[in-house]
């Protein structure tokens, strides 16, 4: 029996369970109500219906989920036990190729065999598939009936079905939220594990403090020593994300926030704020080709025309400038919130002393809003250093340690992309280096976020 058919059948059973349990509860409750006792009836009939339906569906559904993972292994075992499997090749690779082909033919994905050995296995394969398919379906149906019957016998006028359903709803919501957390933990665990493998090949000190980055030479067999010095990447990341981008984003973001909160009329504000926020919605890949195709060549020409040596068409400046523009909405909206959170009385106090609006802003509002602004900037930095698309397209690959903004530098994210695109072998230091870089990036952005959120939170408390 096929999967969809079983699911449909289960859904039908659930519906029947709901209707019959509800009807039974209704009938019993009508009788119970006649006794006149206030606590004779607990839950509405609909809750009894849900209670029984869920008991019908959940155990069977869980079983099917487990079965879907377990049965392929059981099927393979059954096939291997078959006499026809004796002729299988011994090495694991060709063995699984034959088995895969036999399965494909048995399930109808493939019509003929390339390998005669697999043709022989098709028969036992379909037999095993059939056996286990039917077994799974039967077990699921038995579970559904058993669960439904158990729940059905509990339907009484005073049974607290409502409380049970409520508890189940809570459990469902809990599972949903845990799923995201578990996924994150899984990602972190895999990062840690792969990084650990990398650090068993490359000394962490060499990685964190080494000045030379050439993973290609390591892959070509020149050894792992001093090929994985990540400092040039860290420098490139900081240079683009935390220096150039912030030189653009902090003043522009702050000034637009000041204008919007202090000077703009409500009409102007109503129009400008959403438009500014559209900047945050532009896909980064669009910023990327804007940086690579428009800004970078213009900057190189400019650099060449004023006689700067080493100007590259993949300059740190191009990537940083465009990234800065991308970050402006983050900085401005955080700064906007913090300035707006400074109490009006502070502003009135300053104006009543005879200060002008700009004196009030620079001497009272911005100092008072500073922690919030700093928090916003830290969040923006963490966003900028994790940004990938712009730097992949515009920043170049050369791991240079240079403070020349017209030269090419590379970043952590760019190198991760480089290390993991194309054909990979997952046991070389070159590939595993991507995980170590990812781990460093993860730790740094995590710390930045924690610090930023604490700063912002502490500051919010100051005015409440």
């Amino acid at each position: 029996m096929t999967g969809p058919a079983i699911l449909l059948l289960l859904a039908g059973l659930g519906a029947i369970a709901w209707v019959s349990a509800r009807a039974r509860a209704l009938r019993l409750q009508t009788v119970a109500r006649a006794t006149g006792r206030r606590d004779a009836v607990h839950s509405l009939p609909g809750y009894h219906g849900w209670y029984v339906a869920l008991w019908t569906l959940i155990p069977a559904g869980l079983f099917l989920a487990v079965w879907a993972n377990v049965s392929p292994g059981l099927v393979t075992q059954a096939v291997l036990a078959d006499p026809a499997a004796q002729s299988l090749p011994l090495d694991a690779f060709s063995r699984s190729a034959v088995l895969g082909e036999a399965r494909a033919i048995a399930t109808g994905l493939q019509s003929g065999a390339f390998n005669p050995a697999s043709q022989a296995l098709v028969e036992p394969y379909s037999a095993a598939l059939n056996t286990y398919g039917v077994a799974g379906a039967v077990l699921a149906l038995i579970l559904a009936f058993a669960g439904g019957a158990y729940a059905f016998t509990r339907v009484r006028p005073d049974f607290r079905a409502r409380t049970r359903v409520e508890r189940l709803v809570m459990a469902t919501l809990l599972v949903a939220s845990l799923l995201a957390i578990v996924t994150t933990l899984g990602i972190v665990a895999s990062l840690l594990w792969e990084s650990f493998r990398f650090f068993s090949m490359v000394n962490p000190i060499d990685f964190l403090f080494g000045l030379k980055w050439s993973p290609q030479s390591a892959a070509m067999g020149y050894g792992n020593d001093d090929a994985f010095g990540a400092v040039p990447l860290f420098w490139g990341t900081i240079f683009i994300g935390a220096i150039i981008a912030m030189i653009v984003a902090i003043p522009l973001g702050l000034m637009s926030a000041v204008y919007l909160t202090q000077y703009a009329s409500s009409t102007v504000r109503k129009w400008m704020k959403p438009i500014l926020e559209v900047l945050a919605g532009v896909p980064t890949v669009v910023y990327g080709y804007f940086a690579a195709l428009t800004v970078a060549p213009a900057l190189r020409d400019l650099a060449v025309s004023v006689g700067i040596h080493g100007a590259s068409s993949e300059s740190a400046l191009a990537a940083g400038l465009v990234m800065g523009v991308m970050i402006i909405p983050f900085v401005s909206s955080m700064a906007d919130d913090s300035i707006a959170a400074v109490p009006q009385s502070m502003r009135d106090g300053s104006l009543a002393m005879g200060a002008t609006t700009s004196e009030t802003i620079t001497r009272v509002l911005i100092p008072a809003a500073l922690p919030g602004v700093v928090g916003g900037v830290l969040l923006a930095v963490s966003r900028a250093i994790g940004e990938t698309m712009i730097v992949v397209m515009a920043a170049g690959l050369a791991a240079n340690m240079t403070a020349n903004p017209f030269a090419s530098v590379t970043t952590v994210t760019t190198q991760i992309v480089q290390l993991l695109t194309g054909d990979q072998e997952f046991d070389s230091a070159k590939t595993l280096a991507a995980f170590a870089l990812g781990l460093v990036l993860f730790i740094v952005t995590l710390l930045l976020n924690i610090v930023a959120l604490r700063v912002v939170k502490k500051y919010r408390e100051a005015y409440e």
Binding site: S266, G354, P367
Partner: protein, 262 residues
Amino acid sequence: MTQEQTDLTIANPKMSARDVKVFYGPKQAIKGVSIDVDMDHVTAFIGPSGCGKSTFLRTLNRMNDTVASARVEGEITLDGENIYAPTMDVVQLRARVGMVFQKPNPFPKSIYENIAYGPRIHGLAAGKADMDVIVEKSLRRAGLWDEVKDRLNDSGTALSGGQQQRLCIGRAIAVEPEVILMDEPCSALDPIATAKIEELIHELRGRYGIVIVTHNMQQAARVSQRTAFFHLGELVEYGVTSDIFTNPRQERTKDYITGRYG
């Protein structure tokens, strides 16, 4: 205005309001108010919530300018000069007519910097020594010096509510204003802190023109020599404080001060 006013006219008032009307959009908040302010008398504005007394107070140093929809008609003069004239520099006006707010609002800076803020932006101090003198003088006048002289670098926001309010008064004094407007300065304070502020108002009288808005009629009676009773945007009665409280001419005033409403 219906009551006699002959005994109140001041020859050379510091500030003088004539037939002032304030509108918030289409709504009229103040309906033709005339009042004189001088150095020798503390003027108290009393009246129920929403009667327009704070609104009127804020027209006297043009703090209503910060409200986009507010519009002022009539004439308000400071030393005979119309403060709503286009030639009037609002910044200069507010330095001459200072303000203390309902809730103490010290800047999140040190006590010293709170006082130094105004003199600094107006360039009143020639140097650090000069500024020290201004800060000490202002804090002494605000009656706060003895309490804070050893911790001038502590944050102004760390003081108690009453101290914060006296710091705000000191801050206003530091720019050498001619008039100080106080908008319910004691409403957020306990009775002891209130008593200190009232004492301070007595000491400041004569040196500055003082206008105080208050909800507390006993306070108006204690600190002021002139009282103006506002109701629904009108100046119902304006007179010598003792007259208003012992012998109100208007029925509405009488009802208010005897606690019939408000």
